[in-house]
Symmetry: C2
Subunit: 286 residues, 2 copies
């Protein structure tokens, strides 16, 4: 399947929320961890993710495991990650974004591409822009996979490098990255960008540069991004889609009790409803 | 132990070569892979790395496994990587650089730092500069570990982003990164930079900016970097140290026969001898 097309189908069903599957041992429901002998027990991590997946698969736009939360537990984490991806593929029609933010020289990126697309079989990956397009060809060559390039990240301090002004025109680095990805990296029409909800002005800048290229937006929820400002800045004019709105902590840790799947579903539904309500206001105002 | 101090001891013993432990199944000696039932068999990968480690531990400056070559085999690769790190720690005094080029928001980087420093117990890591210092604090806080920031990478096409000129002064992005790391990221005196041997002019620029900050230099060997130009551009004036010269493919695949450890040792020794011969000429000319 083609990742961008599948995401388009989800948007057509008014599904905009990407559920981040980022297990942190100390935050997992105690009834899951209490019987376990070791932190990072893959059975526990899998059971937690399974609960979230089962409860949100019919309303989620996408699932996004971030590898850092799994590698924190070494081999155990890798076992859990393989099971989580396998389970999503076996029981849902929801695409998987592997948030691994890789970026190395070309020969080395082949290993990471193999990990993502052959071992785990995911539908999209996040990557770094710093090495440049030639190095990232190992990812870009996978025409049906989504290649999601970091552009303006949601964290405090992302200005230090990303908002440096280039040349005499004062184009910011994140704008240059957006333009490069749009103009030259995207020969297979499989590129997306990451722009944080914590920077709505920059999101509007990027949207103006990249036309209707899909944008993955972290930073709603725990990080404090403003949803309305994000949608006004980033939705594609006319179709009012083009954004994948991620929430991780806000959804998966909504409850630490046995009802955590229901709570995760409620938070996903709530966020998705808010998105569609704002879209409806925008549609009526257009 | 403090990574930069340990590397300093290795330099004092005239050891400059970092041996890259990057296993690629199809390139492994056939006598190791022929009996194996599966590509990526952790026993085979470990045996290969063990052969290299045993043969070079008394002459190497450092060992550098790149995680991409292990994650290519999923859980099997992670099992191999854990065994490789454990073996180096148990049988050598050579520091380990985990080349994983991570870079995410702060909360997420905690997972990767845990992977590197708690699970694997390595002495240094490579990281991306794009997210900025605030996000990378999760790594920088580990005062005794080496935090090696990508500055000017060895690959073709690294100019696309890294050599963009900033502002009206025309400072290049890689120079800005070098200055930021030197001026503000390095509060714990634990930072290093990556500059590729394929860009000796840029290496000289960076050396002029960062004083005696250690620099990890990939790109010698298979990538075609010029050793003499690299040393002239990058060695610290006076001490004639300050560079960790990496070679991976040129060493570990020097032979595909049963003599691969001897061949790896010979290549490591040869490269190290060349480095010290050039240093001697520079010393006499000073």
């Amino acid at each position: 399947m083609n990742f961008i097309k599948v995401v388009g189908h989800k948007w057509a069903e008014n599904k905009f929320v990407c559920v981040g599957l980022d297990p942190v041992w100390d935050k997992l429901p105690q009834h899951l961890t209490s019987d376990s002998e070791k932190e990072g027990d893959p059975d526990v991590i899998f059971q937690f993710c399974k609960g979230i997946i089962d409860a949100t698969k019919d309303i989620a736009n996408s699932f996004k495991p971030n590898t850092a939360f799994y590698e924190a537990y070494g081999t155990d984490g890798m076992i859990a990650l393989e099971r989580v991806c396998e389970y999503i593929q076996a029981t849902t029609d929801v695409p998987i974004i592997l948030d691994f933010k890789r970026g190395d020289i070309g020969n080395t990126n082949l290993g990471s591409a193999r990990f993502a697309f052959d071992v785990l079989g995911v539908d999209a990956v996040t990557v770094q822009p710093y090495l440049g397009k030639v190095a990232m060809q190992a990812f870009l060559d996978h025409a049906d996979k989504g290649i999601i390039v970091l552009c303006k990240t949601s964290n405090e301090g992302s200005d230090e490098v990303q908002s440096q002004s280039l040349g005499v025109d004062g184009v910011k680095l994140y704008e240059y990255v957006a333009k490069q990805v749009s103009d030259t990296w995207n020969a297979n029409n499989n590129c997306l960008l990451v722009v944080g909800a914590t920077y709505p002005k920059e999101l509007a800048d990027v949207r103006a540069i990249v036309g209707d290229m899909p944008i993955l937006v972290p930073g709603i929820g725990a990080q404090g991004g403003d949803l309305e400002a994000t949608l006004h800045a980033g939705l594609v004019y006319g179709s009012l889609d083009g954004l994948i709105i991620n929430s991780s902590r806000g959804i998966i840790y909504a409850s630490s009790g046995e009802d955590f799947p229901d709570a995760a579903r409620a938070e996903t539904q709530k966020l998705n409803n808010e998105i569609n309500a704002i879209r409806e206001v925008m549609r009526l105002a257009a």
